[in-house]
């Protein structure tokens, strides 16, 4: 499975806006490049990224070939309750990766 780096604050105050940062290892091969043998290199990208907070979707992104390798996402949410923030990336050739992080809201 691809490596991912997640940054979610471990603790937050109720109602506080927290920043979430994610970075995942992926080549994001565009499908427009030509290999050394003259053939097109087939497209291999991440197509979807979803973040859920205790099962509820809070952020979603669709990815396209122009997005750089090792895509990075930063977004914010309001800390409402303690629980788990889960992340899932899906892409071409059956690519699936998931991560999760716990947050304690006081």
């Amino acid at each position: 499975m691809a490596r991912a780096l997640i940054n979610v604050p471990a603790k937050a105050k109720r109602g506080e806006i927290v920043e979430i940062k994610t970075l995942i290892q992926h080549e994001m091969e565009t499908g427009f490049r030509v290999g050394t043998n003259g053939n097109m290199i087939p497209r291999d990208i991440i197509t979807d990224f979803v973040c859920k907070y205790n099962g509820e979707e809070i952020f979603r992104a669709e990815l396209f070939p122009a997005i750089a390798a090792n895509p990075f996402f930063a977004f914010s949410t309001i800390a409402t309750e303690s629980g788990t923030i889960s992340f899932e990336w899906t892409g071409d050739n059956g690519f699936v990766a998931s991560e999760s992080a716990d947050i304690t809201v006081e």
Partner: protein, 258 residues
């Protein structure tokens, strides 16, 4: 008009030649100092620095058994956080058996073939980059000491000679950009001083991690000269000279560059 341009170019070249001196130690700057705030922030935060993905891969490889000796790096060297601390700051280092310096990538492959009885990892492959990034990372923040060994001195000199040697269709030497014209612009990008403080590093242009040899190949191709094959002695001499030139500066591995 054309003649006037030629005179101007000749004058510029003459000025550049006249200046050919090494950068005084106190005026040295890492490539980091030439970057914008966004790229700096990317390098500084371990959760945004893509090089850390390779460091994590390297940590896994460090513990993975390989070869017919069925040994991992950790089986001999133990915890890299202690055993590899400061090691990358001393590389390329003189190898007595070979009678010449070897760089970190070559050292990893020597360990693989001689100790692990495994096949050497291909240059610029994901695994070798991951291992060298992981080992390099253990020296982050430490001062560069490469080239201090007296036995390495002739190779530092050989590297210096290569650095100052004009080559390629553009007839340029490394020194003409990185000693004489650092801080100027090449196309839109600033010309850095060429201190190899953060290799292997994540280059946004490459969209991946790359070694110092890859960077050197880039420059050599840019001068329209023919690059040496990976692993060539000339690269190691150049790497050694560059590290000696950056002596005392801090290791940034894995750095991020534009």
């Amino acid at each position: 008009m054309r003649a006037a341009t030629l005179v101007f170019v000749l004058a510029a070249v003459t000025v550049a030649v006249a200046r050919a001196t090494e950068i005084p130690l106190v005026e040295r700057k890492s490539g980091y100092d030439f970057m914008g705030p966004d790229t700096r922030a990317m390098q500084d935060d371990d959760t945004t620095n893509p090089g850390m993905l390779w460091v994590l891969d390297g940590e896994t490889l460090w513990k993975r058994k390989a070869g017919s000796a069925d040994k991992s790096c950790a089986d001999c060297h133990g915890d890299a956080a202690t055993s590899m601390k400061g090691v990358a700051a001393r590389y390329p280092a003189f190898d007595a058996a070979r009678g010449r310096p070897v760089d970190l990538e070559q050292r990893i492959n020597i360990c693989r073939t001689e100790r692990q009885q495994a096949t050497p990892l291909p240059f610029e492959g994901k695994e070798l980059l991951a291992l060298s990034a992981y080992i390099g990372h253990q020296s982050r923040g430490l001062p560069i000491e490469a080239g201090a060994d007296a036995r390495a001195k002739p190779f530092v000199e050989a590297g210096r000679k290569l650095f100052n040697q004009r080559q390629g269709q553009l007839n340029l030497s490394c020194a003409q950009c990185h000693d004489d014209n650092w801080g100027q612009k090449l196309a839109g990008a600033p010309v850095p001083q060429g201190h190899a403080t953060g290799y292997p590093l994540y280059r946004l242009e490459w969209q991946t991690l790359g070694s110092l040899q890859r960077r050197l190949r880039n420059c050599i191709v840019g001068m329209r000269a023919e690059p040496y094959p990976f692993d060539a002695a000339e690269y190691v001499d150049l790497e050694l000279y560059l590290m000696w030139r950056a002596r005392g500066m801090t290791i940034e591995t894995p750095a991020v560059r534009p």
